[in-house]
Amino acid sequence: MAKPAMKTVFQMIDAALKLDPEKLEGSEGVYQFNITGEDSGTYQMIIDENGGKAIEGTEKDPNCTLTISDEDYRDMLAGALNPTEAFMSGKLTIEGDIGLALKLQGILDEYAPRV
């Protein structure tokens, strides 16, 4: 089965965030994903008092920027690679608030499509 495009993956995350925003409390911030590789692109996950959304491109200044390859990001969504492991192995580089980045694990556990 063909893997969904990265754009579609973020659309799926967007839908999940909007469907069930209650578990986002305490994770407020702007997470920017710089995805490298064949399916590269820039996306943001914006979580604020109104809930959460994921968009393609940039809408706000990020609190933390995560740079990762498309393949490693897919592994992360599939649960085969957690953000801490990715950071420790150098697969994920983080700029900005690493405290916020650490919360990503919980968010992905709740909202990531298993693609």
């Binding site: 957690n82 420790m88 700029e95 690493i98 405290g99």
Partner: protein, 301 residues
């Protein structure tokens, strides 16, 4: 100092009772450890035995120390330059050991990072704006000012940021955190041994800073104010960074959903740092009772 007018050891001798000379003697006797002799093999095994969520607990502290030790290694020379220009022979002699020790501290952390396999991991993500304010800006600015200005104000500011805040508050608090977390967990014996050596060296370094400031503050309220205002200004940033470390530790602990040896007490670092801040201030405050630096020197020697 373009020309020498005379030489202390020709006209007379070294002041063997000078507190700075005594620090020099101690450094020669005690500060002989070699970072290359520390065995980090158990540390490497310990690191491998941990899960990623546990491993990451060590990184903010290691990141702060690696950069911190490198910064103080690179930034200490202007102090030596200033003391030499003032003809302070005993201070200059002591500072020769100080410079060497800072280089060893930088080496020790670099060796540990290499031994556990994180030498190529970019840890600068842990440097917050507050950390950068102290280590990237205030420290080099205050120290480099000494190259062209060795006034009491410049010396006080340099010793305040270097010896009182970076070494006396942040490094001391960091050593304590390492011991609290990893000694209790029975991990990283090599690193902890290195920390013990570092701590002994830093004790002398802090003493150098305390005495340098004390002799400028004795009988001089204006100089005392320079010290007091500057340490208060820097404390805001130091405490903000410590808050960040403790908040991060809380976040990291949430990721550890299994039984782990690595435990962090978030209040410990804060309360320890606060205590260091108060101690540093009190060490300077106590010499205000002296009328002059000469009176202080007579009382100490």
């Amino acid at each position: 100092m373009v020309h020498h007018e005379s030489f202390q050891t020709v006209k007379g001798s070294i002041n063997w009772d000078d507190p700075m000379y005594k620090l020099y003697e101690k450094a020669k006797k005690i500060g002989t450890w070699n970072p290359a002799d520390i065995d980090f093999s158990q540390d490497a095994k310990d690191f491998q035995s941990l899960r990623d969520e546990e491993r990451i607990t060590a990184l903010p502290l290691v990141s702060a120390f690696s950069a911190g030790e490198e910064a103080v290694t690179l930034d200490i020379l202007p102090m030596m330059h200033a003391m030499a220009n003032q003809g302070r022979l005993e201070d200059t002699m002591y500072l020769t050991t100080f410079v060497h020790e800072e280089a060893k501290h930088t080496e020790m952390f670099a060796r540990w990072q290499k031994a556990v396999g994180i030498a190529n991991l970019d840890l600068s993500v842990f440097h917050t704006d507050s950390y950068k304010k102290i280590f990237y800006e205030e420290l080099p600015e205050s120290m480099n000012r000494l190259l062209t200005d060795d006034s009491p104000e410049a010396v006080i500011r340099a010793a305040t940021v270097y010896n009182m805040v970076v070494e006396g508050i942040l490094a001391e608090s960091g050593y304590n955190a390492f011991r609290e977390i990893f000694r209790k967990a029975g991990l990283f014996p090599g690193l902890l041994k290195g920390i013990d050596y570092l701590n002994m060296d830093e004790g002398r370094h802090i003493q150098f800073g305390i005495y340098t400031i004390q002799r400028l503050v004795a009988g001089n309220d204006e100089n005392y104010k320079i010290f007091n205002d500057y340490i208060d200004e820097l404390w805001v940033h130091a405490y903000d960074f410590i808050n960040y470390l403790t908040d991060l530790a809380v976040q990291q602990e949430k990721l550890i959903t299994y039984e782990s040896k690595v435990k962090v007490d978030p209040n410990l670092l804060k309360s320890f740092a606060e205590r260091q801040y108060k101690i540093r201030k009190s060490k300077i405050d106590r010499v205000r009772k002296y009328e002059s630096a000469e009176e202080l020197e007579r009382a100490i020697q």
